[in-house]
């Protein structure tokens, strides 16, 4: 028995050693443990070909690192109940506990316990026994969270910098200018290194630690932010008053320099003429004309770039215009005018290449430029600058310096440059003479920067150290650079990127302390938003009103009720195509549902337009935005929220959320249709339009300007008219309830419904995801409205696409999501040895191919937990379209090649052979015998799921993780049960659930651990 020999040798070693184990000591196995291993593990894990390449009999021969790997693997297998396998004899509970405890000790002693790290991760959240959590058995365990530092999220990063850099964004929403939170399109170029993982479920956990990548990115960010903060301080003295004080002399010098420079740039010629009188002309350099190509012949023989592509930019245009203005005279030819301008530019010392470009431009585009001058009213905008001397003392300085530096042949810019250089040196010397800033003002600087960046005053120790540092910086780098460096230093302080959540005050009998009021204000603010505490929360901290459960409840309820603030839900949806993506509820409330379902994960999934039968890219953005709107709607109703999310048959489809606007737009199309339907409109001539002039003007038909009818003989909008009428007829001539308000053809200007941002309402192709035939669309102006063959978010195209592949469905992903997110189950990682590709077969459905691949015993062990839950959703393809037949999209199955381009209502999909969809499945794991069992299709599955207590509890568990930033433990049992009670007693209010969680012991109590001595 090889294993015995080795194991018992190790045992002897163990007893020979000291009781205290050093982290670097090899692992030794005591007799009792060796017995368990021998009895339950050795059969498979020993010898020449041990299972999974883990040979316990050679444990002693391994290096320490490898030993620890084996111990970690063993502990994990035991903890998750994966070993010994089901078909082998299990050790007694006591033996199992003993082994697990020993493994834990060995790994902890060597600081190598990977299981502990794993269990902190979101993907291991469900490993805590569900029944135990909700049984009530553990309700007396005191709930708490450990004291912790929590790395900021990508959203908090944006909010922090937006606050510091005064980045306030306004968006036109429903015709009003509204401040919105959540923009990341700052003037300052910052890179966000705190990105959250992209999986569905809870993305933001208090597990991450700062690393080199963060720091490297933050170094650049801190520099950029420092520069911009100085700029802001220069614009507004209230921004950082100490900076204003320290830079007072610099600012004064800069202003003086800027004033002198501006004065000379504008009036140097006058100054020189006045000062040098007759000598002036003699001192000028010899004017040499620039060489430019011959003007482009104006006979049409050469294609000339249009004005907009040839003009040198607005600043240049202004400069050229001003010169022309100065030299313009009656009867002066263009050539002489250009020459005079050129002379001026030459004397001023403008760059020769720039002069060349200006002359070429004027030679070729004088006529167009004059047109622009008139059209854009240059003369009004750029009035001639009148000569206004500086103050007497300033003029004396300017004149004296000019006198000193002007040399024969100097162009004006050379004179100005020499003067400025002298003044700069003088000012610099003056600042050196003035000495470094006083200690008091440096102290103020430190104080203010702490408040601005870290949102708190410095401690005494910090104040002292930072004053010393600031003094060094200012002395070594000068005032501006020194302040910037201090800003950088504070931005790189870990307090900037970690949220602190520590208990304060006296501990209770369980060693728990309440969150400090300041930390509590941040914990509450960040639970519901990405921003720092609002004014009310700050006030509550100041007034000592954030120190009891009732205080928390008051603030949570207040924040949940706020609707005076707009949040951008998703920047990538918000910007393009005028799609609105905003909410007025605290953003993290909506974001929970969004991320839990993970439907926004469809955004990076790109698909073949041909398979969609229309343009997919634009439609998918609308799909996400409308799913967000539906979630917003359900949360606003706040009744039976989980049930509604799982079962609603009402959706937004090509709808802005503004029923009034959508109804008006649909009505307008109907009026136009009704007005013309009995006329012979398809044969209309322009004269016929005239007969309907008043009607068309009242309804503002796209592309038809009634004011031009008959005034401009060439004006013929018949094409626009007929295109619209054709399209409107298509939308209403089959007795449709209402017309979908999309544009019949692309053109500028508005005619149909506007987006909430006031832009054009686009991407009607979104209807195709819902199997709506656009040529016979029963449009619903009042939404959300019932849609056929849909039941809840799991049948929303967004969720279905997000849980599909680029070219086919993914029942495994869909099933895994249901197992983990709704049934609180776990699926082990795909074993490294598995080739997880489903083989192609043009004659089989995906279900058939998948069953062939995953049906063997080894695969089925895990796949039985996913496939039967995901397969009912085979009734929806990878675009989320409902189907009863599956297209076998292989070239050999092509039945009809359909054209690639067509009108919006046409379906351009190629047609393939099909096979019937089999949508049966099996629900297991609800813990309710009346619900578990076979299901015919997704709708039946959803109906049963929606009735399950376990599903509701699972959703509550995820909400817990979302708001606590960690996995639940048995000591959170009471918190979860209270949350469930609050939810049920309120008729399914998500707000009540949040209130319960954020006032629970798990949230408000903190406990120090050995981690925080």
């Amino acid at each position: 028995m090889l294993i015995l020999r080795h194991l018992y040798l190790l045992v002897m070693l163990a007893f020979a050693g000291n009781q205290l184990v050093l982290a670097s000591e090899p692992v030794a196995v005591p007799t009792a443990i060796a017995d368990v291993l021998q009895q339950h593990c050795a059969d498979c894990h020993s010898g020449d070909s041990p299972e999974a390449e883990i040979a316990l009999d050679r444990l002693g021969e391994l290096k320490l690192d490898d030993q620890l790997t084996v111990l970690n693997a063993a502990l994990e297998q035991l903890h998750f109940g994966l070993m010994p396998p089901a078909d082998a004899a299990s050790p007694s509970l006591e033996a199992r506990d003993r082994l697990q405890q020993w493994l834990t000790e060995q790994l902890d002693q060597r600081n190598a316990n990977q299981l502990r790290d794993k269990l902190r991760k979101p993907e291991y959240g469900n490993h805590v026994d569900h029944d135990a959590l909700f049984s009530g058995e553990h309700v007396n365990r005191p709930g708490f969270t450990y004291d912790r530092r929590w790395l900021i999220s990508e959203y908090i990063f944006d909010a922090k910098f937006n606050r510091i850099l005064n980045h306030n964004v306004n968006v036109n929403i429903d015709g009003k200018r509204q401040a919105v939170i959540g923009s990341n399109k700052r003037r300052v170029n910052l890179t966000n290194p705190f990105l959250l993982p992209t999986h569905s479920g809870v993305r933001y956990y208090a597990n991450e630690t700062l690393n080199g990548g963060h720091l490297l990115t933050m170094l650049t960010n801190a520099k950029e932010a420092g520069t911009y903060m100085l700029y802001l301080a220069g614009r507004d003295q209230r921004y950082l008053p100490a900076v204003t004080k320290i830079l007072a002399l610099e600012t004064q010098h800069e202003k003086t320099l800027a004033a002198r420079e501006r004065f000379l740039n504008q009036h140097v010629e006058t100054v020189l003429e006045n000062q040098f009188a007759d000598e002036h002309a003699k001192l000028l350099p010899v004017f040499v004309r620039a060489e430019v190509p011959a003007p482009i012949p104006n006979d049409g023989s050469v294609k000339k770039a249009p004005f907009h592509a040839a003009n040198p930019g607005n600043k240049e245009l202004e400069l050229i215009f001003r010169s022309m203005q100065r030299h313009q005279a009656d009867g002066l030819s263009d050539q002489l005018l250009i020459e005079n301008c050129e002379r001026e530019w030459f004397y001023h010392g403008h760059n020769p290449r720039t002069i060349q470009a200006r002359i070429t431009f004027l030679n070729n585009y004088m006529e167009e430029f004059r047109g622009q001058i008139k059209q854009h009213r240059f003369a009004e905008k750029y009035k001639p600058v009148q000569y206004l001397p500086l103050s007497e003392s300033e003029m004396q300085i300017v004149q004296a310096t000019v006198q000193k530096h002007r040399a024969r042949g100097d162009r004006y810019d050379a004179v100005i440059k020499k003067c400025l250089e002298q003044w700069r040196q003088e000012f610099e010397q003056a600042r050196i003479d003035a000495g470094p800033p006083e200690h008091e003002v440096v102290s103020e600087l430190v104080q203010q920067l702490f408040e601005k960046i870290l949102e708190r005053p410095p401690t005494e120790g910090e104040q002292e150290k930072h004053i010393a540092l600031a003094t060094d910086y200012l002395r070594g780098l000068g005032n501006q650079q020194g302040i910037k460096k201090l800003i950088q230093t504070l931005i790189l302080n870990t307090d900037f990127v970690y949220r602190n959540e520590f208990g304060q005050g006296e501990a209770d009998q369980y060693g728990r302390r309440m969150l400090s009021p300041r930390d509590a204000s941040y914990a509450l603010a960040y639970a519901l938003t990405d921003s720092s505490p609002d004014a009310e929360l700050q006030k509550a901290v100041k007034e000592g009103r954030l120190s009891s459960r009732e205080d928390y409840e008051r603030e949570v309820r207040r924040m949940l009720a706020r609707r005076d603030q707009f949040y951008i839900v998703d920047e990538s949806v918000h910007r393009p195509n005028d799609l609105s993506s905003f909410t007025q509820m605290p953003i993290r409330e909506l974001r929970f549902v969004r991320e839990y379902f993970g439907y926004q994960r469809l955004l990076p999934i790109f698909k073949d337009n041909k398979r969609f039968g229309a343009s997919y890219d634009a439609a998918k953005l609308r799909l996400v935005s409308e799913t967000d709107r539906l979630v917003d709607h359900i949360l606003e109703q706040d009744q039976n929220v989980f049930h509604e999310l799982l079962t609603t048959d009402k959706f937004y489809v090509f709808h802005s959320g503004d029923n009034e606007v959508m109804q008006a737009s649909a009505d307008r199309i109907r009026r136009i249709y009704e007005h013309f339907k009995d006329t012979d409109w398809s044969e209309f001539e322009v004269d016929d339009l005239g007969k309907h002039k008043d009607f068309i003007a009242a309804e503002t038909m796209r592309g038809i300007d009634v004011n031009r009818l008959f005034k401009d003989r060439r004006y013929n909008p018949l094409n626009s008219f007929k295109t619209q009428l054709t399209s409107f007829t298509l939308r209403l001539d089959k007795g449709q309830a209402a017309a979908a308000p999309y544009n019949s053809f692309p053109a500028h200007g508005m005619a149909n419904a506007a987006s909430r941002y006031g832009g054009r309402f686009q991407s009607p192709e979104v209807a195709r995801f819902y199997n709506i035939d656009m040529s016979n669309w029963d449009y619903q102006p009042i939404q959300p409205a019932a849609v056929e063959s849909r039941k809840g978010l799991l049948t929303s195209p967004a969720w279905l696409i997000a849980h599909a592949k680029n070219t086919e469905t993914d029942p495994i992903q869909r099933g895994k999501w249901i197992r983990e997110k709704l049934l609180a189950g776990s699926i082990p990682d795909v074993p490294i040895t598995v080739d997880a590709v489903i083989p192609e077969d043009p004659h089989k459905t995906l279900r058939e191919r998948m069953e062939a691949k995953t049906g063997d015993q080894y695969c089925w062990k895990c796949h039985q937990k996913m496939n039967p839950l995901g397969l009912p959703f085979e009734s929806f393809d990878d675009f989320g379209r409902y189907r009863t037949e599956e297209s076998l999209e292989y070239p050999e199955n092509l039945v009809e090649k359909v054209k690639d381009k067509g009108a919006p209502h046409e379906d351009l999909r190629d047609i393939y052979k099909t096979l019937p969809v089999v949508s049966t499945g099996y629900l297991s794991g609800t813990g309710d015998k009346t619900l578990d069992g076979e299901v015919d299709n997704a709708f039946e599955l959803i109906d049963r799921i929606a009735q399950s207590d376990r599903v509701r509890q699972s959703m509550i568990r995820y909400a817990f993780r979302y708001f606590m930033g960690r996995n639940e433990t048995l000591s959170d049992s009471k918190t979860l049960l209270d949350a469930q009670r609050a939810y049920l007693e309120s008729g399914g209010s998500f707000d009540e659930l949040i209130v319960s969680l954020l006032t629970s012991d798990s949230f408000i109590y903190r406990k120090p651990t050995s981690d925080t001595l």
Partner: protein, 470 residues
């Protein structure tokens, strides 16, 4: 059952634990993760992105036989020795380097953004949803290569872009991506690039003050960490370690001072303050000098250079010296000063190739090992968006120059791969996979798959085998 994934991971020497997102951001702090890459010694890659497409017929060889001409026009596969042919006129400055040149036709880039712009997507082989952050799906190929060959700067990005009338200046957002949802920054004018890259020599005071700041932070965070233990301590000690690594990098940079001084380019005064008066060729030349110096000094092994973009102002172009040219207008066939658009487009390309040629010449003049620095360098010049001004991405011609130690078998040839949507067709994803596999990252496939190839069930994954080292 297969052990494929495990074997691949083992071959790469990459641990199973994975690398966190933020760690992936920092090739400058990384150590080589691949044994293959580590065994190769320094290897360099230069990606030169151009706008307005490269039309496939522009790189076709003028001395094609009739049969070759027809095959090329019909987009049929070709593999021709360049030695027996003349290069197209605009590429003729590369004549001396013909043996190291490959004109690679037939790659498609439909899985990246096409039309006018591709942003980061052409180097990442994904659709970026215009230029959205959330659309950045993965680290771009240049960053992946930079991870294999770490250097003090890790990766350097340069760009010459603007707003049609003036050039962008300073440090601005770039076109590469160090990680998913991350946009790189880039140096937008030669002076800024010069100041930032060679700071340890040109502005040692700034480096000193950086070090002072890092030392202070190190002290502060160590002080805070003292009272902690376990996981919470780790949260701070990781940060302290990062600070130490950046200090070490700064020290490394200071140590390179002598080498930097040796290769420090001379920058003309016209580039001061962003260099708005510099002509486009002057800017390009200065950027080339900086690019070569960044490689020669060992500050980086990977440079991505956007030599132009549709909104880059073109000023001082030979033949149109005094015109203010919009590349976008050229794409719509607008001429300037009587010179037709096509001619100006060619002049712009000639200017680009002059820079490519200069890069190769300069690297060939710097000894390294038994040869020159160019032996270990691959330079790629390619369109950011595909085959034209409004591209569909069906073709993306690459002009590739690679030194003698290049691990790819493609030198001295004109290669046309099977056309998009046909058997054997290769995408930029295959091309980038080839680069990664050849240089030590055994990834099965880099980039998104082409949807038309998928629809037609055509194999499209993996490296281009014919280029791979035997």
């Amino acid at each position: 059952m297969s052990l494929h994934r495990r074997q691949l991971l083992q071959a790469a020497g990459i641990g199973l634990g994975g690398v966190s997102l933020a760690q992936a951001l920092a090739p400058s702090l990384a150590t080589a993760t691949s044994q293959v890459a580590a065994s190769l010694g320094p290897r360099r890659f230069v990606f030169i992105r151009k706008s307005n497409g490269v039309r496939p017929n522009e790189v076709a060889l003028p001395t094609f036989s009739d049969a070759q001409k027809k095959a090329d026009k019909d987009r049929l596969p070709l593999d021709i020795e360049l030695a027996n042919h003349e290069l197209p006129e605009w590429l003729q400055q590369l004549d001396p380097h013909k043996q190291q040149l490959c004109i690679l036709q037939g790659l498609s880039c439909k899985m990246s953004e096409n039309g006018h712009w591709s942003y980061s997507s052409v180097l990442g082989a994904y659709k970026s949803g215009r230029n959205s952050l959330s659309g950045i799906k993965r680290a771009t190929i240049d960053f992946e290569l930079a991870k294999l060959f770490p250097s003090p700067f890790g990766h350097v990005e340069l760009s010459l872009t603007g707003n049609y009338s003036s050039f962008r200046t300073g440090i601005v957002s770039g076109y590469s991506a160090p990680a998913p949802h991350q946009r790189n920054y880039c140096y937008a004018d030669p002076q800024t690039a010069y100041n930032e890259l060679f700071k340890s020599v040109t502005n040692p005071e700034a480096v000193d003050s950086d070090n002072q700041m890092l030392a202070f932070l190190q002290g502060e965070e160590n002080f805070k960490a003292k009272v902690l233990a376990g996981y919470e301590k780790q949260k701070l000690s990781n940060h302290v370690q990062s600070i130490e690594r950046i200090q070490a990098r700064n020290k490394q940079l200071t140590g390179l001072a002598e080498v930097i001084k040796r290769h420090l380019p001379e920058l003309d005064a016209v580039h001061a303050n962003g260099g708005q008066n510099a002509s486009t060729p002057e800017k390009q030349q200065a950027m080339t000098d900086i690019l070569v110096a960044a490689l020669a000094t060992g500050l980086t092994n990977v440079v991505t250079y956007t030599i132009d973009e549709l909104s880059t102002p073109i000023k001082g172009l030979p033949g149109n010296e005094s015109d203010h040219i919009s590349i976008h207008e050229l794409g719509h066939n607008g001429g300037y000063s009587g010179v037709p658009a096509d001619e100006i487009r060619e002049t712009i390309r000639v200017g680009h190739i002059q820079q490519v040629s200069t890069i190769v010449d300069k690297l060939k003049s710097i000894p390294e090992g038994k040869g020159t620095m160019f032996d270990n360098t691959v330079v790629m010049y390619f369109p950011e968006n595909g085959e034209g001004h409004h591209s569909h991405g069906t073709e993306a011609p690459f002009v590739i120059l690679a030194g003698d130690n290049c691990r790819l078998d493609m030198h001295g040839r004109y290669i046309r791969l099977p056309y998009h949507g046909t058997e054997g067709h290769k995408t930029i994803g295959n091309w980038y996979t080839t680069l990664l596999n050849a240089y030590g990252n055994p990834i099965e496939h880099y980039g998104d798959l082409d949807l038309e190839m998928s629809r037609k069930k055509l194999d499209q994954s993996g490296a281009i085998k014919q280029f791979m080292p035997v």
